[in-house]
């Protein structure tokens, strides 16, 4: 039998020429422009800068030691702290919104969801700029709050950590609502009625039945808020002022104005390591991804046999 030629026609499991040909473009592209640069970041962290803003030859631990200095470490902690606060606020606001939309008539849900997404269509920088206008000392918000007597005269809304948190929440919130809504939409709301029927209070039913039911949505929401928040650069740069600098700013400054590429690489490498932690935890929590990892392990085992 010409079984080899025939297996070309219908594929089950094994790889074929057609598969390779169609996989090559994305695979090779992402290897060159994503995988290699990522590895390069870790490699260059062990180099030093040359006086012209380039990268010197020779390997060293000096750069790594440099970025573990006290002032950098405090920026690390601040970045993690701000990201956690932003994530918490996004969940706190996102879960009720997802819960509410999921309970609406299916005909209108799409439009409610769209209403949440539409602000995303505004350019990222313009959204930040809009907040600068709004939070400006002479801007609408501060003057209104002053007029209402809600804030003291000497409180400024812009160029501080509070502004960074507000604007980051603003840019991340729709991304938190989407996965929570997606999970809530699939949630069987009669389970809450069942819990109520068995004597649970509304809040208890929400906490013990609804929240565990949308766990996957919450995990995704945490990921899609926490990670960008950790790498946030433009927001602290534009609304954060001197006290609001985060890790992303340090990397950008080291990459442009105050050029020292190995130091920027070392900071970026540390940032990637920090981000790996929640990603790995989520990966292990989610079966689908877990299956991919076990598959990888199995194929590694196959090749050693």
């Amino acid at each position: 039998m010409n079984s080899q030629q025939k297996s070309e026609k219908h594929i089950r499991g094994g790889s074929t020429v057609a598969e390779y040909l169609l996989t090559i473009p994305s695979f090779v592209w992402l290897c060159i422009f994503f995988l290699v640069p990522t590895i390069l970041v870790f490699a260059i962290a062990f180099r030093t800068a040359d006086p012209f803003g380039g990268i010197d030859s020779g390997w060293t631990l000096e750069t790594i030691a440099n970025v573990l200095r006290a002032d950098y470490v405090s920026v690390f902690w601040r970045t993690i702290w701000v990201s956690c606060v932003v994530t918490a606020i996004c969940l706190l606001l996102g879960i009720p919104v997802g819960y509410w939309i999921a309970q609406q008539n299916p005909k209108y849900r799409y439009w409610y969801l769209l209403a949440v997404i539409i602000p995303l269509w505004t350019n990222f920088l313009i959204r930040i700029f809009a907040w600068r206008v709004l939070l400006h000392p002479e801007g609408f918000l501060r003057r209104t709050l002053l007029w209402l007597g809600l804030i003291p005269e000497d409180l400024f809304l812009l160029n501080n950590m509070g502004a960074v948190i507000i604007v980051t929440v603003y840019t991340c919130l729709p991304f938190a609502i989407l996965p929570i809504y997606a999970a809530a939409e699939k949630f069987n709301f009669s389970l809450i009625e069942a819990a109520r029927d068995l004597g649970a209070s509304r809040f208890y039913a929400f906490r013990s039945i609804f929240l565990p039911g949308i766990k996957r949505g919450i995990i995704t929401a945490i990921l899609v808020v926490f990670i960008p928040a950790m790498g946030s650069y433009a927001i602290p740069d534009l609304v954060g002022g001197a006290d609001g600098e985060l890790l992303g700013n340090k990397i950008a400054i080291r990459a442009s104005a105050n050029r020292n590429l190995p130091e920027a690489a070392a900071l970026a490498a540390l940032l990637s390591l920090i981000i790996t932690v929640p990603v790995l935890v989520a990966f292990l929590k989610q079966k689908r991804v877990f299956r991919i990892i076990t598959n990888l392990r199995r194929s590694a085992g196959d090749s050693t046999k």
Binding site: R12, S15, E19, Y20, T23, P25, S26, F27, W29, L30, F33, F34, L35, V36, P37, T38, V41, I44, G54, I55, L93, P96, V97, W100, Q103, Y112, L114, V116, I118, W121, N123, L125, I126, F129, A130, R132, V133, L134, E138, G139, F140, Y170, L173, P174, I177, L223, I227, P228, M230, G231, S232, L238, A252, A255, L261, A268, I275, I292, L296, S299
Partner: protein
């Protein structure tokens, strides 16, 4: 009923929070006052100033050129990737492939920007339009792939067998079945890519050079140095542009076969 009111209240607050800055911005762009705040009368002078600024026009051109180039390549690459990821699910190569396409989605822009910058510098490539386009293709590919993949998951592969069964060859199957059914999905992916490319500031900021200033980068430098009122006007025009693309994308994703 109490809890339902709580969630309704939060939803209303969130919507107010989401729209407040945008409404503010649009109204300010028509304000004659230079620094905003006090309303001193309706004016189009900031729009006029904008259209007389050569560098803004230039940045807009760059944005569109980069967007179109990135969209074209990312769509082709992403559509192929989605097809293989869906069709050859069980193969080990695709498990790896999936990871590789998925990873850029969980990496913050700053990391993607710095890593590409490091690579271009190490390879002594001059930063400019080309490097920006290469970078944009890279982050767009993953988004296009997952957009098309979502459509593919609804795609009934029996249709291909049915067409084959009725005597159709590969070319006819592609033209009559695959293209009409996947076209909207691929177009939605392309819209997504164009929107993302137009929206990107961070990666462009890192890998850009002289002559590759895009609108977001222009807005950034104006925010740092320029008069705020012109930015209002620029923002509104930019917003109108993004909305057009995004609405078109929405229609394509919503439309059933």
């Amino acid at each position: 009923m109490k809890s339902r009111y709580t969630s309704l209240l939060v939803t209303l607050l969130v919507l107010a929070f989401m729209y407040m800055p945008i409404v503010m911005l649009v109204s300010q762009s028509f304000n004659a006052s230079r620094y905003g705040g006090k309303w001193t009368g309706f004016s189009l002078k900031w729009y006029e100033a904008l259209f007389n600024d050569y560098s803004v026009i230039n940045a807009a051109t760059n944005t569109i050129v980069i967007g179109l180039a990135a969209t074209l390549f990312a769509t082709i690459i992403g559509a192929c990737a989605a097809w293989t990821l869906n069709k050859y699910k069980r193969s080990k190569l695709q498990t790896l492939h999936y990871g590789l396409v998925y990873a850029p989605l969980v990496v913050p822009d700053v990391l993607m920007g710095i890593s590409l910058l490091l690579m271009f510098v190490s390879m002594k490539v001059d930063l400019g339009l080309t490097t920006v386009i290469l970078a944009h293709i890279t982050f767009c590919v993953s988004f296009v792939t997952f957009t098309v993949l979502a459509r593919l998951q609804d795609f009934d592969f029996n249709l291909i067998q049915a067409a084959e069964d009725l005597g159709a060859g590969n070319a006819r199957i592609f033209l009559k079945i695959i293209l009409p059914l996947l076209g909207p999905g691929i177009a939605a992916g392309a819209m997504m890519a164009f929107t993302l490319s137009m929206d990107d500031f961070v990666v462009t900021f890192f890998v850009g050079g002289p002559g590759s200033t895009t609108l977001p980068v222009k807005v950034y430098s104006m925010m740092k140095h320029g008069p705020p009122a012109i930015i209002n006007a620029l923002s509104v025009i930019f917003m109108a542009l993004t909305f057009t693309v995004a609405i078109a994308g929405q229609f394509l994703t919503r439309k059933k076969f």
